[in-house]
Amino acid sequence: MKRLLQLCIALMVLAGTTHLQAQEQAHVFEGAQIIPITGEPIENGVLVVQGGRIVAVGEAGDVRIPRNAVRIDATGKVMMPGLVDTHSHIGEGDGGDGSSSLHPDVRIMDTIDPRSGTFRKAVSGGITAVNIMPGSGLLMSGQTVYVKPKPADTIEEMLIMVDEENNIYGGLKMANGTNPLRSNGSPGTRAKSAALVREMFVEAQEYKQKIEDAEGDPEKMPSRDLKMETLVEVLEGKRIVHNHTHRHDDILTAIRLSKEFGYRLVLQHVSEGWRVADEIAEAGAQASIIALDSPGGKLEAINLLNINGRELEEAGVDVAFHTDDPIVDSRFYLRSAALGVQQGMSRQRALEALTIAGARMMDIEDRVGSLEPGKDADFIILSGDPFSVYTHVEQTWIEGNKVFDRSNPEDKKYATGGYEIFRAASHNHVHE
């Protein structure tokens, strides 16, 4: 009996391995409407993937089918790139603590559980790349991490490396407005919040100068400081700031500070972005927005309206959506963009806002966010129009591997929910 069990486990392991290595053989998906995002939709499309990458995408007849390829009939389906979520709290990680309001040294990647059921929930919603952030309860709650929610034993396997040389695979989470205000009075006001952030960036500028003055001489280098090292990456444009912000004046404060220190800024939530859309456009800041079913719930969100996507689009701002899971469940991410369309956003920009626009906000647009040869084979197969309530995500593929299949009951339960599926649904989103 024991031997039989061991054999079973061995077979299971083997099956898993085979599944993960199937990508070496070319896979060809035929007959679907393919939405490449960066090009016009293709009615009778063909997508060829191999070795974890996209080999070809085009119309039937125009695309060469490799010999010995696995051919998959996707007639009647809609295929598009895997969704990119620019702001999420899946993975059960955490960020900085109450000892200070500024934690650029803290890395959420050191705390994420790769086996968390929340990753399976995310792929059931079609998400294949995600910016996992620490919370908004601090001015700087830590470094964010860009991951693929694929089956993995370690967080390292999931990382999306932006800059191998400098080991960058995430941004820096910042927040302003009321969330980072603290009961102990530091910071107790918006102006103090801005002053604390400016002070720290001034310090980082000086640290950076010392490094430059050392001209590579180890004797002259300043002693290592994890906080300063991270902020130097920000000052050098290698690490993007993701700034939680709601109210129109807080949005402008976030822009003002980014201009003063010259760092790259993605505005997160931007609830009143529609009030200062021209100013955001002029500043060249990017906007990652959330769609909610009603305004209110907190004072800063009483003007959060789903016209935000339309207004920012019209002003010419680069707009992406995000879930802020658990605020919006990852399984309803497509719905967020559909609500933008309901309020007047164009379909094309709404589709981009789920994919390539978010990729740009994480510096990973060369790898994900559209279906183009050479890019990662991250895509989803839908039962119909991406913006229809009746449409389900049928399959999700990451780097040429199928990571979600709704026809498999073991996968479907993450899409619908059910008994003891989300065992550790810890909600550690810091707001108060």
Binding site: G297, I327, D329, Q342, F387, Y419
Partner: protein, 403 residues
């Protein structure tokens, strides 16, 4: 931009303002598809409205629109939609102490609290729901106490609670489960909560008996409300998510013999036979509910499973403690429609099904001659994400127009 932002604000103020209501005595609504919810849908249908009531419903070929009627046209027309359980009006969208009246935490059993004494008809979210097609809400005290208070049923229009009231005291909101111990030191366990509830019901039974016999006794508002429950003048609305809490609710109901509606019921799919046998309707949790706490095992297909078993269901926006401050029952029904329930089942539960469970089907829930003129006009399938409400009519008055 400055100009467009200003005009946008004006548009929002007009659209969201509770005072925006155009009085029109006589209206004709023409729809490419009219879901009457009383028989099959009518293609190219007409609804005539006169003096707040529905005057006639039928095919355009059968009904001539009298002179002087204000004509509205839409792709899809439905009865006013019903949110079968919310706290909106007691809970406001600012989410500050001054606008949060859905839960009183001085005592875990307070059946004497009446929603009518704290409902704010001008609350932003009431009008917001109206603009999304919700014309009737069953609202009041929320989950979180063993008995949190009495609920009411109202239209989502009107400037005072009296103006649009349908039922001043409809149900007693009760909760079983782990949520109570977050709000009260005692009861601190599930079994203690049930023990104190049973003790109060036993006391109320004696009170009801004395009341029935005309025997002298000093008035007690707590016992009076519970005696009303035992005399089946009002109904218990029991929020219970886990399967064992649902079964406990059924046990107490059987012991005391009151009318009951189950609320939430995240694990109802585990005890469908028991619910069906008890003949209890279910106001199902929002299918988009976050899987956490007692509702962590929620399944989007539960509404479909209950309907399949013949259990009456309705949809709700429920209670939200943070953002978004309210869900929208139509959006929640849409998710159930897409997860096994289908369009017809979901639309029924959002209209007639809800009206029947709430006991107000004589007035709302379908487009029928003589019923309240509550009508919603859509530019497409009411469940599709991209569909917009074109107009909302409550009691024969246009309360929202986006035409």
């Amino acid at each position: 931009m400055k100009y467009s932002a200003a005009s946008l604000m004006t548009a929002i103020v007009v659209a969201f303002s509770g005072i925006f209501s155009v009085s029109e005595a006589q209206i004709a609504v023409k729809g490419e598809t009219v879901y009457t919810m009383n028989g099959s849908a009518i293609t190219n249908g007409v609804v005539l409205i006169n003096d707040g009531k529905i005057e006639a419903v039928g095919a355009a070929s059968d009904i001539s629109i009298p002179n002087g009627y204000d004509v509205h046209e839409a792709k899809v027309v439905t009865p006013g939609l019903i949110d079968a359980h919310t706290v909106v009006g007691l809970a406001g969208y600012y989410n500050q102490n001054h606008d949060q009246d859905q839960l009183e935490t001085s005592n875990a059993i307070q059946p004497e609290l009446r929603a009518i004494d704290s409902y704010n008809a001008r609350e932003f979210l009431v009008n917001y729901l109206n603009n999304k097609g919700i014309t009737t809400i069953h609202t009041g005290h929320g989950p979180g106490a063993v008995i949190s208070g009495q609920t009411l049923i109202t239209k989502t229009a009107g400037e005072t609670v009296e103006e649009s009231l349908i039922e001043p005291s409809k149900m007693l909101a009760m909760t079983l489960g782990s949520g109570i111990r977050r709000n009260f030191d005692s009861p601190g366990t599930r079994s203690k909560a049930v023990a104190v509830l049973r003790q109060e019901l036993i006391k109320a039974k004696e009170y009801a008996e004395k009341r029935a016999s005309g025997e002298d006794q000093s008035r007690n508002l707590k016992s009076e409300a519970l005696a009303d429950l035992l005399d089946r003048e009002i109904t218990a609305l029991v929020t219970a998510h886990t399967a064992h809490d649902i079964v406990t609710a059924l046990r107490i109901q059987e012991e005391f013999g009151f009318d009951m509606v189950l609320d939430g019921a995240a694990e109802a799919y585990l005890v469908i036979d028991e619910i069906e046998e008890a003949g209890v309707p279910v106001i199902i949790h929002p299918p988009m509910i976050r899987p956490s706490g007692d509702a962590k095992n929620a399944n989007m297909e539960t509404a479909a499973k209950l309907a399949e078993a013949g259990i009456p269901i309705a949809f709700q926006s429920g209670y939200e403690g943070y953002v978004p401050k309210s869900r929208i029952a139509r959006y929640e029904a849409a998710i159930a429609a897409a997860n096994g329930l289908g369009f017809d089942g979901a639309m029924h539960a959002l209209t007639m099904g809800a009206a029947e469970i709430l006991g107000i089907a004589n007035r709302v829930g379908s487009l029928e001659e003589g019923k309240d003129a509550d009508v919603v006009l859509f530019d497409g399938d009411p469940f599709e994400y991209v569909t917009n409400v074109q107009a909302v009519i409550v009691n024969g008055k246009v309360t929202f127009a986006n035409e």
